[in-house]
Symmetry: C2
Subunit: 345 residues, 2 copies
């Protein structure tokens, strides 16, 4: 078994392995990881939780774990769900999860809250949600309230989705609380993205929404029993008439009242419709390649940055920052010089 | 003069210079850039606008321009102002700009809207604002509505602020429309950050605000003649009582009614108070070093990514993405291999 005592969430801990004899290391490591993965894939929730923590915290062995999990991934559907705070996302996601459970599909939910650690809202709400689903091991909920550190929340979320996917979950739902570029980045790499709107949030909120308009494959107008649902629908139609998507798809608009479970089957149907469209038009693979292209570039950027940091050392960054702050050096020339040196090895 | 016909906004154009004899190139380039900078620093708005466009679009010679401008920067104050949409930021910024003008200080405003290109709102509103200040060359307004591409909007905004600072503006104001991580990143590197709140936006909005709570050096409660201003103030005080800032500063709360120009002098005074505090506690330089430390790491990340992209070529990224999408290769091993190769030159 993977020794949990070694799971220190440290950015540098991974490096340690490079000084261990590769062969010896690989053998015992692979055995440990294989046992862990077997348990995880057999439905052991503790093994799954520990794998997610390892990946989320970039703890010792996180890449080895992902390497070993990757071959098992790619079978589940990844759904991204986003919308403004107060749109009723959690309730909608919960009902959708129950809908999929009735079809005997297993569900993993990643609830991402990129906002401040000040409010513990997401975590608290999550615990209540987890209790609700406690009796059903077919629904696994995990919250990620940590603010994007270096690698970025989007990449970490994608990696956690890979773990859930590899664990055999049929549906992985990524739910984000928020409306900014962060949320766009997080749900962008899902197979299907649902944007949740609500009536009566005023024109200002409509303005924020514009940013997430483009990533929607399906729109849900939640709380559609409230006044103004028709107006929201008209506004989406108006925006849709301005531009055609490159893939030719016109995102359907589904009205829901999540608190009553209304419109959930229709929403699931709309999601399925888009998946069908992608398959019919042979776009599934194309979209996958495009997503991986973006993910690979992000991963490469992180790897190169880590390389650069190792090369520099923390003390040097502070020293150079002081030189720039004192205007002794210009930062643009400085960075060119450093990047040039690293390239030469 | 810098040949404007060469100003193609291309990510790869910068590389071209590497094949020109460095000495010949540097001489004629420096002459061109020097003339450009002389005009820009003499108050030529066209020269300034062109410099900003060059930096914003990463057009030919953008780093050379920044290298030459950097020694002239560091004298202006950079203010970051952020808050939810509808908080009346533009009006507040305009009044603050007029306040500084009365003190004979020149002002540069960067209005950043990271939301969608769907809504042309920012650009249109900006034109109206520019007309209003047209008669006063002491106020320069520039909008950046472009979505953060690879390098990221935060870094581009910081570079544009450096241009305005180097042009001799006493005050550079960065105003962002939005509430997410993007906005936090954009205003984080300002000398002073003002977070603008408004009463009566409900609990949901307060939740989003939490994310920008921590970056505030000064709070402005705008539209404070509306009901609920006291409640917002109480909420800020409550949040402030939960944690002490590392620098020991307690951000003051200023009530404003921007549409009537009320509270503007008080806001400017609060900003000045924080600057005074930083100086008194010898924190100005420390904050500067910290900011540059973060900026340098970001710049290094971008430089390393560009290096990696050059090394790979676009075609290879697509090929590798396809292999990963087909599950022929695992992305984690792939990235390690590539990063390893580049490190070796």
């Amino acid at each position: 078994m993977w020794p949990i005592t070694n799971c220190v969430p440290s950015a540098t801990s991974r490096r340690r392995f490079q000084f261990v004899s590769p062969l010896l290391y690989t053998d015992s490591l692979n055995q440990d990881i294989q046992a862990w993965i077997d348990r995880l894939r057999a439905g052991d929730t503790r093994a799954l939780s520990r794998a997610i923590s390892t990946v989320e915290n970039r703890a010792t062995g996180w890449t080895d774990l992902l390497k070993a999990l990757f071959p098992h991934s790619g079978k589940g559907r990844v759904l991204g769900l986003t919308g403004a705070p107060g749109a009723g996302k959690s309730t909608l996601v919960d009902h959708l999860a129950r809908h999929y459970r009735k079809q005997n599909r297993t569900v993993g939910i990643i609830a991402v809250d990129p906002t401040s650690p000040y409010t513990g809202g997401a975590i608290l709400g999550d615990r209540i949600r987890m209790q609700e689903h406690f009796s059903d091991p077919g629904i696994y909920i995990r919250s990620m309230a940590t603010r994007g550190s270096l690698g970025g929340l989007a990449r970490t979320t994608a990696d956690v989705a890979t773990v859930l996917d590899a664990s055999g979950r049929d549906i992985v739902m990524i739910e984000t609380v928020g409306v900014g570029q962060d949320e766009v980045d997080i749900v962008r790499l899902a197979d299907v993205t649902v944007v949740i709107l609500v009536p009566g949030m005023g024109d200002d909120v409509q303005t924020i929404k514009a940013g997430i308009m483009e990533i929607a494959d399906v729109f849900a107008i939640n709380k559609s029993d409230h006044e103004g649902a028709e107006r929201v629908e008209r506004e989406i139609r108006a925006l849709q008439s301005l531009a055609t998507r490159p893939d030719g798809w016109t995102p359907p608009i589904v009205k829901t009242v999540a608190s009553e479970g209304a419109g959930i089957a229709e929403l699931a149907a709309a999601i399925g419709e888009y998946e069908g469209y992608l398959q019919k038009e042979n776009l599934t693979f194309k979209k996958n390649v495009q997503n991986w292209g973006e993910r690979l570039v992000e991963m490469l950027r992180d790897a190169m940055l880590e390389k650069a940091r190792e090369h520099l050392g923390d003390g040097n960054v502070a020293r150079m920052a002081a030189e720039v702050a004192e205007h002794k050096r210009d930062p643009y020339t400085l960075i060119e010089e450093i990047a040039g040196k690293i390239g030469k090895g």
